[in-house]
């Protein structure tokens, strides 16, 4: 513990004789990674809560400045490791906006399909771990059963289970393997029954209801002031979803509802996220059924790697390949802010280009980082046992918080 933090604890301790300071984390299993909380408590009541973050800070934004644009995509995966496709999508869309590049329809629809699958994946991990934190062990096993199949689907298409790096600036890495669509369809078709199972375990469960209803409540006004986004915002009654309200990547072609809830407590966030699972399933179904034929790469030979076949037969393709791999591609000067709706809320990529092959500056507006600021507002004055429920309901990923 550094000296400043010691001082900080000291000021907490010097406050009142009645209170004591309790350290929670960073190795506490229910902090979902390495979140450290300093709790000033008065008996069982929390007086003050101070999150201490930065344990996973790896300087990704600095590293970006030394990479080519395409090399940034795998790094984007590693921030929010539960929703890799959302990060990749945000980054690729931002660079494509800088380039003024049009993406073929099939690639767009594949992106929507995969991003929604990643939302399901992320929400499943959230539901499983959140329920386990509160004491419902079984749900975890059910959720991870489906997540395992999803990870296999990701592995089949991207070659890796979690850090897929499948999206490319200008399209996708490669076509999906032969049986991939039927396998995904099978998963999507059976998934609603699985959601019923989770709900059967939790929704009517009186212990679950008592641990979540009225706990860690926060008003819509406070969420907006504190910069909260995503399911938390919607669970407090604000009907706002970037996919519907500021569409990107062809989301305007899909029909889905935006679930909201007015209570703003842990229960409301549970209801909203479970409803989002169902909506994502619907979007995946529409994407699968309406999947357009055609190419998956934009027609931009200086940016997108050529086919292997062409490289063997055409001189230009070989030259372009060599140039892109060794020198990257240049991006016209300018700056863009591209925000998308990740499972955790608004993830925004602010990219500044100075006309070279490396980004001049990349900033990531990480949803977990912003949402973590809601924790003190949710917990202060409440019971210590509810902190765990509150953390789970915010659904933070510490890789995303610290970057």
């Amino acid at each position: 513990m550094s000296s400043n933090m010691m001082q900080h604890v000291a000021t907490l301790e010097a406050g009142e004789d009645r209170t004591m300071v309790l350290n929670m984390g960073p190795q506490h299993p229910s902090t979902h990674g390495v979140l450290r909380l300093l709790l000033e408590i008065d008996g069982e009541t929390i007086v003050k809560i101070v999150p201490d973050i930065g344990f996973l800070h790896t300087g990704i934004e600095k590293t970006y400045e030394a990479k080519f644009y395409q090399q940034c995509v795998p790094l984007a995966d590693r921030m929010d490791y539960l929703a890799p496709f959302s990060n990749e999508l945000g980054f690729c869309l931002a660079v494509e906006k800088l380039l003024g590049l049009d993406i073929p329809k099939r690639a767009t629809w594949m992106r929507v399909l995969l991003t929604e699958l990643t939302r399901i994946n992320s929400h499943l991990v959230w539901l499983g771990t959140h329920a386990m934190d509160i004491g419902a062990m079984t749900v975890f096993l059910y959720c991870f059963r489906e997540r395992e199949e999803l990870l296999k689907i990701f592995e089949a298409i991207g070659g890796q289970r979690m850090f897929t790096s499948y999206f490319r600036v200008g399209g996708l890495a490669m076509e999906a393997p032969l049986d991939w669509f039927s396998r995904t369809k099978k998963f999507i078709d059976t998934f609603p029954e699985k959601i019923d199972e989770y709900e059967g375990l939790l929704t009517g469960n009186p212990i679950w209801q008592q641990r979540t209803k009225g706990v860690a409540q926060i008003s819509a006004e406070d969420v907006i002031k504190l910069g909260g986004s995503g399911p938390i915002l919607r669970a407090s009654g604000v009907d706002f979803d970037l996919r519907r309200d500021m569409p990107y990547c062809g989301y305007e072609n899909f029909q889905f509802n935006v679930p909201t809830h007015k209570d703003g407590d842990v229960w409301a966030r549970y209801v909203v996220r479970v409803a989002e699972l169902r909506e994502s399933q619907k979007i995946c179904k529409q994407a699968l059924e309406g999947m357009p034929e055609g190419t998956i790469r934009a027609d931009a030979p200086k940016i997108v790697l050529p086919d292997r076949e062409k490289m063997k037969t055409q001189m230009e393709a070989l030259i372009y390949h060599f140039k892109i791999v060794t020198e990257g591609f240049t991006v016209p000067p300018g700056d863009v802010y591209q925000a998308i709706e990740s499972p955790r809320g608004e993830i925004g990529f602010y990219i500044v280009s100075n006309g070279t092959a490396n980004p001049y500056r990349v900033h990531v507006r990480a949803p977990s980082f912003a949402n973590l600021a809601l924790l003190p507002a949710m917990c202060e004055g409440k019971l210590i046992a509810d902190v765990v429920a509150a953390i789970g309901s915010i659904d933070i990923v510490l890789g995303d918080v610290d970057r």
């Binding site: 400043n4 973050i53 906006k97 590049l101 863009v336």
Partner: protein
């Protein structure tokens, strides 16, 4: 979509609600504008920045502070460009505010009193760029260790760090 050249003429863009609000309030607070790739960026005078934000929040419905970050244009001056992304949830619209700061003593008014959510973002910018936010209640490092020296995202800070 082919890229269109950026528009930097205030007259052409004055219909945009954010810009109209600021121009109607204090025309000299707007130092420049840029409409590029369907995004509006306004360069705001440093002195009237906090009031401009309050005005945008209350009168132009830009009620959500999505992000605060910074760009270092070392070695040119003014060196820093603090970037604020505002979102209007009801109008579904974004605007980007930028403030230029000198490299010698970069400091700017904090927005925590307007949006408590600015707290973490400003601490992050302070931590990684060394920009002071006047009036911030708890301006400490947030991602780097407290005893760290230097501000890693500055351009004169080597990628591999000091060894």
């Amino acid at each position: 979509m082919a890229l269109e050249p950026a528009i930097t003429d205030i007259e052409t863009l004055k219909e945009h609600p954010a810009l109209a609000t600021l121009l109607g309030w204090r025309a000299e607070s707007v130092q420049g504008v840029k409409w590029d790739r369907n995004e509006l960026a306004i360069f705001v005078q440093r002195e009237s920045f906090r009031e401009a934000c309050a005005l945008l929040r209350d009168n132009a419905k830009f009620n959500f502070l999505a992000d605060i970050t910074c760009v270092d244009w070392y070695p040119s001056e003014p060196r820093f460009e603090v970037v604020y992304n505002l979102l209007s949830i009801s109008n579904k619209e974004r605007v980007r505010l930028k403030v230029k700061l000198d490299g010698s003593d970069p400091n700017i008014e904090s927005l925590v009193s307007l949006w408590p959510g600015a707290n973490y973002f400003e601490r992050e910018v302070f931590d990684l760029f060394g920009i002071r936010f006047n009036g911030h209640p708890n301006l400490r490092r947030i991602l780097m260790p407290d005893d760290w020296e230097g501000h890693p995202l500055r351009k004169d800070y080597p990628v591999e760090g000091y060894r």
